[in-house]
C-alpha cells in the first residue's frame, strides 16, 4: 500500500460539513458526493484533485457528524490517503472501515504545504515528503486495525467471521422484546 501524489493541505478541525456539506446528503452515490468534496473550504479541490493525491491536515480532522459520506467523498475524489496530526474518532473508524487509508503523522503534516509531493506507505507507516526530501514515521496502527486494513475494511472482515459462525450465539438469542412464554410470571 504505497502511493505518490500531490498534497492538499488544510488546517485544524476540518469538520465533516466541510468535507461534504449536508445539502448534498440526499445521495450516497460516491461520484455524486466526490463532486462536492471540500466545496466550502476549497472550491477548486473537487475539479482539480488527481487520483493518488493526499489530503494533509492538522488536528482533529473529520470532527462533527458521523456521516460516512465524508470518507466516501474523499475516496471517490481519488484521495489515496489522509495524513493528519490527529483524527476525530468517528471519522477514523469510518475511514478504516471503508478502506480509505489514513495516517497520524504530526511532523509530516506540520511541515507539508499544498503542492508538495508525498509518498505514503500505509502498511509500513512511513510518510515521505519528496519535495522537502524528508521522511517521517507515522503513528503505528494497533494489530486489530492492521487486521482490518489487510482484510480490506470492516465488511469483508465481518463477512468472514459471520460465515465462520462467530456471531451465531448473538444472532440466535431470543429477541430483545420477545413475549414471555406461557407459565412465566
Amino acid at each position: 500500500m504505497r502511493w505518490t501524489g500531490k498534497v492538499w493541505k488544510y488546517g485544524d478541525h476540518i469538520d465533516t460539513d466541510a468535507i461534504i456539506p449536508a445539502r448534498y446528503l440526499m445521495s450516497s452515490d460516491p461520484d455524486a458526493l466526490a463532486r462536492h468534496c471540500m466545496e466550502d473550504v476549497d472550491p477548486v479541490f473537487a475539479s482539480e484533485v488527481q487520483p493518488g493525491d493526499v489530503v494533509v491536515a492538522g488536528e482533529n480532522f473529520g470532527c462533527g457528524s458521523s456521516r460516512e459520506h465524508a470518507p466516501i467523498a474523499l475516496k471517490a475524489a481519488g484521495i489515496s490517503c489522509v495524513v493528519a496530526s490527529s483524527f476525530a474518532r468517528i471519522f477514523y473508524r469510518n475511514a478504516l472501515n471503508i478502506g480509505l487509508p489514513i495516517l497520524v503523522c504530526k511532523r509530516g503534516a506540520d511541515e507539508a504545504q499544498t503542492g508538495h509531493r508525498f509518498e505514503v506507505d500505509v502498511r509500513g507507516g512511513v510518510v515521505k515528503n519528496e519535495t522537502l526530501g524528508t521522511t517521517y514515521p507515522a503513528d503505528a496502527f494497533t494489530p486489530f486495525v492492521l487486521g482490518l486494513i489487510d482484510a480490506g475494511g470492516l465488511i469483508p472482515y465481518t463477512r468472514d467471521r459471520l460465515r465462520d459462525g462467530v456471531f451465531d450465539g448473538l444472532r440466535g438469542q431470543a429477541t430483545k422484546e420477545q413475549p414471555k412464554r406461557a407459565g412465566q410470571s
Binding site: 478541525h13 469538520d15 460539513d17 466541510a18 456539506p21 449536508a22 445539502r23 446528503l25 440526499m26 445521495s27 450516497s28 466550502d40 473550504v41 488536528e59 482533529n60 470532527c63 462533527g64 457528524s65 458521523s66 456521516r67 460516512e68 459520506h69 470518507p71 466516501i72 490527529s86 476525530a88 474518532r89 468517528i90 473508524r93 469510518n94 472501515n97 471503508i98 494497533t142 486489530f144 475494511g153 470492516l154 465488511i155 465481518t158 463477512r159 467471521r161 459471520l162 460465515r163 462467530v166 456471531f167 451465531d168 450465539g169 448473538l170 444472532r171 438469542q173 429477541t175 430483545k176 422484546e177 420477545q178 413475549p179 414471555k180
Partner: protein
C-alpha cells in the same frame, strides 16, 4: 479492579467469540482495552440508514440479528424535502418492512431520534447503544453507553449484534456551586466545551458529576450528554440516581423490554485521565460564536449581535421543558420584525404536549413558525436554510461554517431562554432584558 462508568458499561457487554465474559474477566477490563461488545440497540436515520442497508447486503446474511433491537428513524430530511430524500426514506421503509422491524418511525409517528428513543423507553440505564448519528451520545444521560458510529459499523452491528470498541479513558467533570437562574444544561455544556476545547476529550468518555448537578432534570442531562461529541468525546455519561429512576418509570417502553434495575455508578477511586472542576455560581447564559462550538463566551460579553433567524428545537433542545422555557419568555411578547423564529418540537409527543399546554398558541401569537418534528435546519437541510450573510441564533449543537446553509452565513448557539429572548430583541441578549 476499580472501573469508571464507561469501563463498567462496556465490560458488562463484552463478548469473546459471541459468548459473554465471566464476571471476573469483565471486572479486569480497563481503558484502552479493545473489546467486542454486545449491543442493545442499533440506530440509523434517513441519511445514514441507506448506506448501512447497502453495506448490510454485502455481509452474506439475510436477516438482522434481532428485529426488535434495530431502530430506524426518518428525521433528517423529513417530511421529505425533495425526490432524492424521498427515495432514501423509501429505502429505509422497504428494509424495515422486509426485516419485520418493530421500531421504524415514520412521519407522523416519529420525532428527532435522540428525543424519541428515550421518550419511547427504548434506552435503559446500563444499555449499550450504537447509532449512525454522532449525537447518539445523548443516551449517556440515562447511564447508557451511547456512541456514534458510521454506516458501515452500523451495518455490521445490525448483522452481528455487536461492535468493536476501544474502551475510552474517562474525564471526570465536576460542577460545583449552585446553578444561577436561567442556567440550564446548554449553558453548562457550552461552558465545558469552551473550557476544554473541541478536541478536549477526543477518544475519551466524559463523566458528568458534582454537587451542582444533583437533581439536575433529565432534559438538561440529555442536552449535556448530547453535546459530548462537540469536544470529541465518545460518550458523555451520568450515573443513575432518583432523577433517572423517575424518568425510567415514567417512560416504561415496550411492555416486555428487559428491565435494568441496578444502579449504574463508577467505582469510587476509579482511574481518570483528568478531573476538570468547574465553578458555576457566577455562570451567566453561554453563547458559542461561529465557527466552532468551543468559541464560547457569556452573553454579556458578546456586544451587539443582530440576528435574522432563531431556531428553537433539535435533539439538543427540542424537549417539552425546552419549549416551556422558550414559551415563558415569548408569552406576551412578539418576535422582532426583522427575525424569523422557527420552533421545532422534538417529537409527536412534544407537539401534542405543547398543544395541550397552550405553548403552540404562545409561539404562534408571538409570530413564530412551528414545524412538525425534523432535524431540518440544524444541518442546513430544509425548514430554515440561511442565505449568504445571514446570521442565526440556534439551540442546536453545531456552528461550523455553512452548517445551516450558505458558507457565508453564521450560526451562534445558545439555550432556549437566550434564543427566545433574542428572538424578541432582534439581537442576542439575556432573558432578563426581555422580562425586565
Amino acid at each position: 479492579m476499580l472501573q469508571t462508568l464507561a469501563e463498567r458499561l462496556l465490560s458488562s457487554h463484552a463478548v469473546r467469540d459471541g459468548q459473554p465474559l465471566a464476571l471476573d474477566a469483565q471486572r479486569s477490563i480497563h481503558a484502552n482495552d479493545l473489546l467486542e461488545v454486545r449491543v442493545d440497540r442499533v440506530l440509523a436515520n434517513d441519511i445514514t440508514g441507506p448506506i448501512a442497508i447497502r453495506e448490510f447486503s454485502k455481509l452474506g446474511v439475510e436477516t438482522v440479528f434481532d428485529p426488535d433491537a434495530i431502530v430506524l428513524v426518518a428525521d433528517h430530511f423529513t417530511p421529505n424535502k425533495d425526490i432524492a430524500s424521498a427515495e432514501q426514506t423509501a429505502l429505509l421503509r422497504r428494509f424495515a418492512r422486509a426485516q419485520g422491524l418493530k421500531h421504524f418511525y415514520d412521519v407522523g409517528r416519529a420525532g428527532i431520534e435522540h428525543v424519541l428513543l428515550p421518550e419511547q423507553g427504548l434506552v435503559r440505564p446500563g444499555d449499550v447503544v450504537v447509532g449512525a448519528d454522532s449525537h447518539t451520545c445523548t443516551y449517556g444521560a440515562l447511564a447508557a453507553f451511547g456512541t456514534g458510529m458510521g454506516s458501515t459499523d452500523i451495518a455490521c452491528a445490525m448483522a452481528t449484534g455487536s461492535a468493536w470498541v476501544r474502551v475510552p479513558e474517562s474525564v471526570r467533570v465536576e460542577y460545583v456551586g449552585e446553578l444561577p437562574p436561567w442556567i440550564g444544561g446548554k449553558d453548562l455544556i457550552l461552558y465545558t466545551i469552551g473550557q476544554i476545547g473541541v478536541d478536549g476529550a477526543r477518544y475519551e468518555a466524559l463523566e458528568f458529576t458534582g454537587p451542582a448537578l444533583e437533581r439536575l432534570p433529565m432534559h438538561a442531562r440529555f442536552t449535556m450528554s448530547n453535546m459530548a461529541i462537540e469536544c470529541g468525546a465518545k460518550a458523555g455519561l451520568f450515573g443513575t440516581d432518583c432523577v433517572t429512576s423517575a424518568y425510567v418509570t415514567a417512560h416504561p417502553g415496550p411492555p416486555l423490554c428487559v428491565r435494568h434495575t441496578e444502579p449504574w455508578q463508577p467505582d469510587a477511586q476509579a482511574t481518570y485521565a483528568r478531573v476538570v472542576r468547574l465553578e458555576v455560581d457566577a455562570l451567566e447564559p453561554q453563547v458559542a460564536r461561529p465557527f466552532l462550538p468551543d468559541n464560547v463566551c457569556g452573553v454579556s460579553e458578546l456586544g451587539d449581535v443582530c440576528i435574522d433567524q432563531v431556531v428553537i428545537g433539535s435533539c439538543t433542545n427540542g424537549r417539552i421543558e425546552d419549549l416551556r422555557e422558550a414559551g415563558d419568555i415569548l408569552r406576551g411578547h412578539e418576535v422582532h420584525p426583522d427575525v424569523r423564529c422557527i420552533v421545532l418540537p422534538g417529537s409527536q409527543y412534544v407537539v401534542r404536549q405543547a398543544a395541550r399546554e397552550g405553548l403552540l398558541d404562545t409561539f404562534l401569537r408571538a409570530g413564530a413558525a412551528v414545524s412538525t418534528p425534523t432535524c431540518g435546519p440544524c444541518l442546513g437541510g430544509h425548514m430554515g436554510v440561511l442565505a449568504a450573510g445571514e446570521r442565526a441564533l440556534s439551540t442546536t449543537n453545531r456552528n461550523f461554517r455553512g452548517r445551516m446553509g450558505h458558507p457565508e452565513s453564521e450560526v451562534y448557539l445558545s439555550g432556549p431562554a437566550v434564543a427566545a429572548a433574542s428572538a424578541v430583541a432582534g439581537r442576542i441578549t439575556s432573558p432578563e432584558e426581555v422580562l425586565r
